[in-house]
């Protein structure tokens, strides 16, 4: 298991050792969706998942 901090609520997240870059996780404490942006040995870098909305025009 690896650990990381939720960037919003600061809770400790336990992350499975087989996590891969691009995987989407959900913080069990605040529900924030997080994207795994980097896996480097025992460290995991997460950032809030941002989904671009389609541009429907105005």
């Amino acid at each position: 298991m690896m650990s990381a901090k939720c960037p919003d609520c600061d809770s400790n997240l336990e992350i499975s050792g087989d996590v891969v870059e691009g995987e989407i996780l959900s913080c069990p404490c605040c529900g924030l969706e997080l994207e795994v942006v980097k896996v480097n040995g025992d460290s995991v870098e997460l950032q809030e998942l941002v989904i671009e909305g389609e541009d429907w025009g105005e």
Partner: protein, 365 residues
Amino acid sequence: MHVLKACCKLEMIKMVKVGVIGGSGYVGGELLRLLLFHPKVEVTLVTSDKYAGEYVFTVHPNLRGVAQLKFVPLNIQNIKDNCEIVFTAVPHGAAVKLVPKLLDLGLKVIDMSADFRLKNPDDYPKWYGWRHPCPELLKEAVYGLPELHREELKNARLIACPGCMATATILGLAPIIKEGLIDRDKIIVDVKIGSSGAGAKPSLASHHPERFGGVRAYNVINHRHIAEIEQELNLLSISPVKVAFTPHAVNMVRGILATIHGFQTREITMGDVWRAYRSMYGTEPFIRLVKYKKGLYQLPDPKVVIGTNFCDIGFELDPRANRILVLSAIDNLLKGAAGQGVQCFNIMMGFDEKIGLEHPGFHPV
């Protein structure tokens, strides 16, 4: 078989004989509902002068088939002979006359009224309009909020259970007061409460045509619970706390939502707020931090805690107004009264404090 019997006998020896004094009100009814299913309690006596001789299910119909208990009149000798611990669920002003006699009998008392909540005797004329006849007991009584007074509760002889709106407010504010995240003398608390908070005795205010459909602010600047809220928050604060508190009677039977507005003392992040609440409540069995980004119930709602001993607390930062918004939801009859009383009882007796209180609420309700 013999072993089994021996075990059963041992369990019976461990049962605590509990009496409920004033068992006909809503708090008394909820105490009975919890205690009758508590694995370490034998309810030996329930008093009500008004309903003496009647089965308890006459007044509390949800207990039909659960117990064949009958209400008995208040009789000190009867209490002495049948109880080790008593819950007093009598009106404010009546408990103060009764509790000293019960303590003199050697009983432990968990009082649901306001009569022993305030530490300063001078606060009673100010907030309740009468002089306290036994101020020495105010020093001894432990304010029955486990999240703040767990260690003192273990050795208590007299527990004063907090007011329902005070419980929601204190629990909502305690971490950010303790961490100094908000101005301590500029706090606004807006409470919505269901009709059961007014008790079982009817009045014009509880009359259906008057109550139904209304949102009625009452005691808008001087509600009695302010005294205990400030008393308890001052224990956590380096400077006096001042709370502007306004309750509203709303169209629910049960439940309280306290909407609390604090104003930041410095620039803070959501992580700071989470850390403050997690640091104080991370291991608390009946506090849930509810600030979730998915689903319908992303913040506390009393509907979700009805029938439970949980206090759900959520928060949000409002940088535009320099505000921390806190929402605190409880069932006024459970975490706000009977449930909290049983939690205190468990702590006082050295039991797991969750016993008899672990059930989640209904959904939908």
